[in-house]
Assembly symmetry: C2
Homo-oligomer: 404 residues x 2
């Protein structure tokens, strides 16, 4: 993003774009005392785009939402729940997802092809359709952030991001929310992200913009390297900001919109990484002087994905040798005699050999909620980033605590 | 391996093949009170083969041994040390490795091209060449297992395997030793494996046999997904068993030799996985009904490599949903509606949906030093295996304990 594009993005407190309403309530799908059911809808049909888990065991709601959006890249509403992921539930699960879709379409008097479905929670458990049927009439068109709470499972807090940009003289709002922090409970299926905007944009262009944006944001975070069966990111753009509809990447305001969307996706992704299971720190890896952006991103993701690097950062250990070992595992172009590494801005390695540095000082600098690792590959001009979290006793505890 | 091949392999207690001698002594390269320096040699030049880390930051001794073996696939001796990995040590490290090679060649009065060099320990630290020079004359041609102790760093025990097979009417001994349990200390560079045999076999054929054997053994273990800069497996075959030299894979006794070597490689690999840092359990994944062996191995390795599966097994949790999620991440052919999973022989999943099973009983069955996960992909007849270990509090403690 250029300086110019960045400065045209105003980050604001949580506000919905024009025409978007939501609700989140408790209907008791799970055992935890929290909101677990909700919806999101737009006054008018919105251009829609989605990206979905690449896990082969895609959950029923994920599959259905993908199919629905693919019809003509339009959605007007999404029905959501936590507690039960409706994943690995066979034919019954598929039927339940379709029933939910139909029920919300009927309640809103819109076409079923305008309704998305999203579930997160226990894998292998079935939805209690009676509770959903009874809960549906209780949903009201509100303007708070209830839906962003209703999709949480054991996330410590909601993930939200909101910006405004000016397109064609009109103020456009882009608002996102997400959930996910690894499979924090046994059998939890995990990551969901939603972005709403009142921008007017063609559905295919929105899809291309989302896919490109997700590549450098959601696809660049890792908590534990495990990909859930329910992951999905969906964007709805309802056009109510009344800017001239964006149709191609060469339109005057396209770059501004794309930068705003990218910012929101990036903020949500970082919030998920920081709230990774058991995490005490966000780790950001910035790779520079790579041959191309893909290789830069691969190297960045390898650094934040290494168990040894993650454990070292939990221990405030400026362990450059684990970082260089993680870098060397990647199939990317690198000048193996001239790699440089810094932690929190302090140079640790130059020309692939350790520099003299004050370990205590570097270690002290790592006692923060965010640790930054900079890597230079001396092989080009491309850059890439990735985000992860430290590996802690609590990660093991959370994921091994079957008997507690 | 066929039943027939397996039955022709006799596992025996630790014994060197004819003509191999070794020693291991303490010269004080590190701070730990243990043997840290040694050698291995054969009365006569041996056919030699090696496989080496794919990490781009290959350590100086690893690089030198590779170059040396590649000259004409012959070695007669190896000089080894623990405590210092001689990795990320630049030009000085390369010079030191060459000096070690020259010194041992001079001491044994053999060509430098017959001497391999292996180091394991701290990355980024330099060898104390004075101590090595002073230690060299103290090494004696012994027949105990000292060298297998001298290469250990913080392994809990030596890894050893020994079998005898009959080739051409002659008894052939195949004896291996290895070290490695993750990068158990900050900056430890890790895995080394050596196999000696008195079989007569051509060097190129030995290389092909080793490479194939490593693919399904050492390359199928994972402790934490991090690949060291010093990994290497070397085989020496000195021909002193006086069997007719094996020259092609179609030779009558070739399959028997290959099966024996494979058995030794497999045993060493499993011992390394079981002694993974912090580990309390060996995890074995057996994949069946895959399209081809490569895909079967990929799926098996994904199962034993998943942090969530590893943590669940530490907690005696028969968490099939994490196993199916790990399987679904692999780019392999699978019948997504007909996958089956068992733990310790108890069926958990059939047709990709959970079976009713007694969780307490399965959990009780997992309270052992080895947990077996069987996966059927319903897509062919190929099989594959992989081995790993559980993810424990001690893994985090060991790798985060910079300040202790």
């Amino acid at each position: 993003m250029t300086q110019d594009e960045e400065s045209s993005i105003n980050q604001i407190s949580f506000t919905w774009p024009k025409g978007f309403y939501n609700d989140g309530i408790k209907i008791g799908l799970g055992t935890v005392d929290k909101k677990d059911f909700g919806y999101l809808f737009s006054q008018v049909p919105a251009a829609a785009a989605g990206t979905y888990t690449t896990n082969k065991f895609q959950a029923a709601p994920t599959k259905l939402t993908k199919e629905t959006i693919n019809v003509d890249h339009k959605l007007q509403a999404v029905i959501l729940n936590s507690a039960i992921a409706n994943s690995c539930t066979g034919a019954q699960g598929t039927k339940d997802a379709h029933t939910e879709q139909q029920w919300l379409a009927d309640a809103l008097n819109i076409d079923t092809n305008l309704v998305g479905v999203a579930s997160t929670g226990l894998i292998g458990a079935y939805l209690d359709m009676d509770k959903i049927k009874a809960g549906l009439p209780k949903l009201q068109p509100k303007t708070g952030d209830d839906v962003s709470q209703a999709i949480l499972t054991t996330d410590k807090k909601p993930k939200q991001a909101c910006v405004q940009v000016t397109l064609d003289g009109k103020t456009v709002t882009i608002t996102g929310f997400a959930k996910g922090s690894g499979m924090i409970h046994p059998k939890m299926a995990t990551m969901l992200g939603f972005v709403t905007t009142d921008a007017a944009i063609d559905g295919d262009l929105l899809q291309a913009t989302l896919s490109a944006g997700v590549d450098t944001t959601f696809n660049q975070i890792t908590v534990d390297g495990d990909t859930s069966t329910n992951d999905m990111v969906v964007v709805l753009a309802n056009g109510m900001a009344q800017n001239t509809e964006l149709k191609t990447t060469t339109d005057a305001d396209y770059d501004t919109f794309a930068a705003g969307l990218h910012f929101v996706l990036g903020e949500l992704a970082k919030q998920i990484a920081a709230d990774g299971e058991g995490a005490t720190k966000l780790i950001e890896a910035n790779v520079t002087e790579a041959l191309n952006p893909t290789e830069a991103q691969s190297v960045a993701k390898a650094v934040v994905g290494s168990s040894l690097v993650k454990a070292a950062i939990f221990g405030d250990d400026p362990n450059w040798s684990r970082i260089i070992a993680a870098i060397g595992m990647v199939d990317a172009t690198m000048d193996i005699d001239h790699v440089a590494i810094s932690a929190n801005g302090i140079p640790l390695v130059k020309d692939s050999v350790a520099l003299p540095f004050d370990e205590t000082m570097v270690s002290e600098s790592m006692k923060t909620s965010k640790v930054t690792i900079d890597v230079s590959l001396n092989s080009g001009t491309a850059t890439g980033q990735a985000w992860g979290c430290d590996l802690t006793y609590n990660y093991v505890k959370i994921n091994a605590s079957y008997h507690t």
